[in-house]
Amino acid sequence: MNTFLNGEQGAFKPDGLTPMQKITLRFVVTALVYYGFAVIEGMIMRIYEIHPFPPITTNQFFAILTAHPLVGIFGSTYSLVFGAFLFLMPFITKKPLWSVKLANWTFILVAVGTFIFWGAGFVSHYAPLYTLYWPLPADFSQFNPVGGAFFILGIALVMLGTVFFLINIFSTLLYTPQGWEKQNKAAILASAIGYGGFKNLFRKNKKEHLVPLPIAAIVRGSVDMAFNTGIILFTGVLILVYMVCAIFGTDLSRTAIDALLYKNWFWWGLDLIADGLVLIFVAGTWYLLATLITGKELFMQNIARAALFVEMVVSWTVWSHHLMSDQAQPGILKVVSGEMVTAFELITQGLAFYITLATIWSARPLKMTNPLKFLLGGLTGFALAVPAGIMQADLGLNRILHNTQWVVGPHVHVAVLVGLTMTLYSAVYLLFPIVTNGAKIYSQKLVNIHFWCHITGGIGMGAFMGMAGLNGMLRRSLYVNGEFNIYMILAAFSGSLLLIAFLAFFFNLVMSLGLKGVIEIFTSPKNKTQDLIPS
């Protein structure tokens, strides 16, 4: 009981936390709570796919399916990424964060916005799914426009929080702190987006980089995030206009928007998350973790930087692989953007994979620490998921894979759950003693349960969903006659391992910090220092 209240050995002292440490921990705890939402929703849907059960109705099922990826991505992943990067920017650059207040607003807006759109879906059953193919989100014969308006409001708040995050990242990169020599903003920005590394490939005398590589990855990913935020905000406003008009009794014509053009627009923006910032942020996090874990310089650093720059071209021109089954989409876009540019991701992500492994390998023998084992799990996840994506981005194969469980199983869930999430857990385990001023992990056994249940559950679920997809099971659908039950039962079993992994991790975290400590994280900091960690 004492450990539950005060944490392992009472080592966590929340009174000594700096404002930045508190913000980071708030993001982490909130991210885990929303991850819990996503896992529980996922399990409800897994069971419902096997056998529909009351009180969940079909409409409720699709409302959960709509909220599930958004709660997972915005509520959990965005929170973890924002918390980690807002801490790492000043940690690596040795500059104070540009605005702690803005960081706090980012936290509030993402947490509140996620709860609003989740609640809107839960109450009103607004369920256009995240694809939002026009005019489905404005189809008021199936959905209540009031519920939809709250849903969009929630998303808009998350996007506003994202804008604040981006302002903080770019401002921290470019501003000159008091007492520092005036910084050359253009040169820093060029270095940060990987342009310096790209030019270095062709120089005999390599120039020194102004920005550390992990910072370059954060900034480079933030460029895509900025575009993506703009697209989602604009799309939200567009849908909101239709909804507000419907609420006041005016039905806007459905033909005002071209459905295919909208689809291209939407996927161009949305792919900047999936193919842009996820891959880039992940690559940057791998580089950071590899160098921090090993204490070695990154292998092939110039290539890694140049790849970040090239990935900018790739992530901006890759969207058409989502429209390969759209017959009105021009064939040239399907081949060049859909197939060829997408195949380039195999190269950029493969480079990041190899560079990280080679850096780790160069430091042998290493102790298998918690950050290292989760990093290896994350690398495995992407090694499995990226080729699955390349396969479905093929003109021939897409015809029989598009919108099947294959897409969401071996590609999306393995990439997000195993690749991305395990990479982020690696960062959490690495930063844990730094942001908590040396708090002790309660149980190494629980860490091991977290690791093994998560990796086997994530890969297993992806595999069984993939098998169902190859046998014809569609995503975003229901099979009430149990046509694919064998795969769905096995996927649900794997999903339950993910739930066990989450519970083990969450319990371990609470026992490490103590309930009082977790509550204290959300109170105003007593330590008013501008330092990142107590001096």
Partner: protein, 188 residues
């Protein structure tokens, strides 16, 4: 024409093999990481060979499938190919409106499915009796959605929407709507 079921089997074998190799490789890497040894991975030659391998793999995958999966070139060149039969289908209010109760097809005919949506974005997919997919396309309102397909085996296929169009879309199924006959024998 090669059946899509054969392509799916090939893909299952290839991807399963790849996954087993990668997982074993990562296990081996993790085990070796805790002991000292030669540092071969950081040799530039190996790195550049790996990059070259990825490049060849990425490009060759599409070249191989384009030359072995017959519906890929058929689809890209469909505007120049005269179909043996055309079925015009309309979708409205989550309902398929077929030109006849059963769409009858003769073996080896090139058939064009011309599907129009009058409201939402839907999908058009053909499924075998065991629920596996034969082919599909998206059906976008305001645009032409045409799928050219050649059937070289007898069979009875179900039409199902392959795109989410709200909860009502789940029930967009027309069972046994497409019948392919070869020499007057219909097999399932």
């Amino acid at each position: 024409m090669v059946d899509s079921g054969i392509v799916l089997k090939g893909q299952t074998i290839a991807y399963t093999f790849y996954c087993i190799v990668i997982i074993l490789l990562m296990i081996w890497f993790s085990l070796k990481l805790t002991s000292s040894g030669k540092n071969v991975l950081t040799k530039p030659g190996i790195f550049y060979t790996f990059v070259g391998f990825l490049t060849v793999l990425g490009v060759s995958l599409h070249l191989i499938t384009f030359n072995t999966i017959p519906w890929a070139p058929l689809d890209l060149n469909r505007a120049k190919i005269k179909p043996d039969k055309v079925f015009t289908i309309v979708i409205e209010n989550h309902q398929f409106k077929l030109p006849s109760e059963k769409l009858m097809i003769d073996c080896n005919d090139k058939v064009l499915f011309d599907v129009k949506s009058n409201d939402l974005t839907y999908g058009f997919g053909l499924f075998r009796q065991d629920n596996s997919m034969v082919t599909q396309m998206q059906v976008v309102p305001g645009h032409r959605n045409d799928l050219l397909w050649q059937f070289d085996k007898p069979g009875i296929y179900t039409i199902r929407s392959t795109e989410y169009s709200g909860p009502k879309g789940v029930f967009m199924i027309v069972k046994d709507a497409v019948v392919v006959k070869c020499d007057d024998n219909v097999k399932q």
